[in-house]
Symmetry: D2
């Protein structure tokens, strides 16, 4: 009677994010049920080991059929020189 869950502190896109019609807003589907903080800034990375390239704010999180669907807005890009 337990529900498996993963607590996440950053968004890792693996370049699977999809642009929405709203500027700077992306959708991303992750496997399994994952808990992310929403409405507060978190880091975005392309890979787990990579450098964060932006901060984002998740504005919607859905759990359904063993997937987590995130909608997030990019807030600021972290310059990489």
């Amino acid at each position: 009677m337990g529900m498996p869950l993963e607590l996440n502190t950053m968004i890792v896109t693996k370049q699977k994010e999809i642009k929405t019609e709203t500027e700077n807003v992306y959708e991303l589907v992750k496997e399994g049920y994952r808990l992310y903080p929403i409405d507060i800034p978190i880091e975005v990375r392309t890979t787990k080991e990579g450098t964060p390239y932006a901060h984002a704010r998740i504005c919607k999180l859905t759990w359904e059929q063993e997937k987590t669907i995130l909608t997030y807005e990019l807030m600021d890009l972290l310059g990489v020189n």
Copy 2:
């Protein structure tokens, strides 16, 4: 940098659930971000202090704009004689 959350172990409808087009499936909107176990049976009550009247399985949970939207399927009604 914290996200307020409420951990819930049962569905309390306060008779605000809305029938969907699928038999036995209801939608319920709750204030704030709430964490419920999904895909496993949980109790349904009309009020917090009331007696459970059914078991249900939440099949979808969404967090958005400081609300939690649940879609759940009633599994068995608990006979009250």
Copy 3:
């Protein structure tokens, strides 16, 4: 960068609970990191499929070395006739 977690809504003892020196207070160690509601009444069962035999209130929860240690107080025994 995720932390696996299990959301639990009841205590399943598998008869591994240990009596403490305080009356009605027990300690139980579970494998993995598990999230339980604390300070509110939850059901206690001997096995996952069994009938609840009591309500309890978890008063302390610790995560350490991939284990969850619960301290809970039995509140009322559910008569089984």
Copy 4:
């Protein structure tokens, strides 16, 4: 029947951390029940708005009497020049 919780993604010490007998290991007490990822690297800051000064790994988390007690190990100090 809900348990209030705060999801945290970083440690904010407000300089209230206490050195333990083990090198680089600190204890910190926070108000309320807070969920932090444990066993994985997270940022440490002195204030919420401040710059992170280290990465740490929480190795123990306890909830009791409306407090959260963390034990964490500093992993690397982020040089500030």
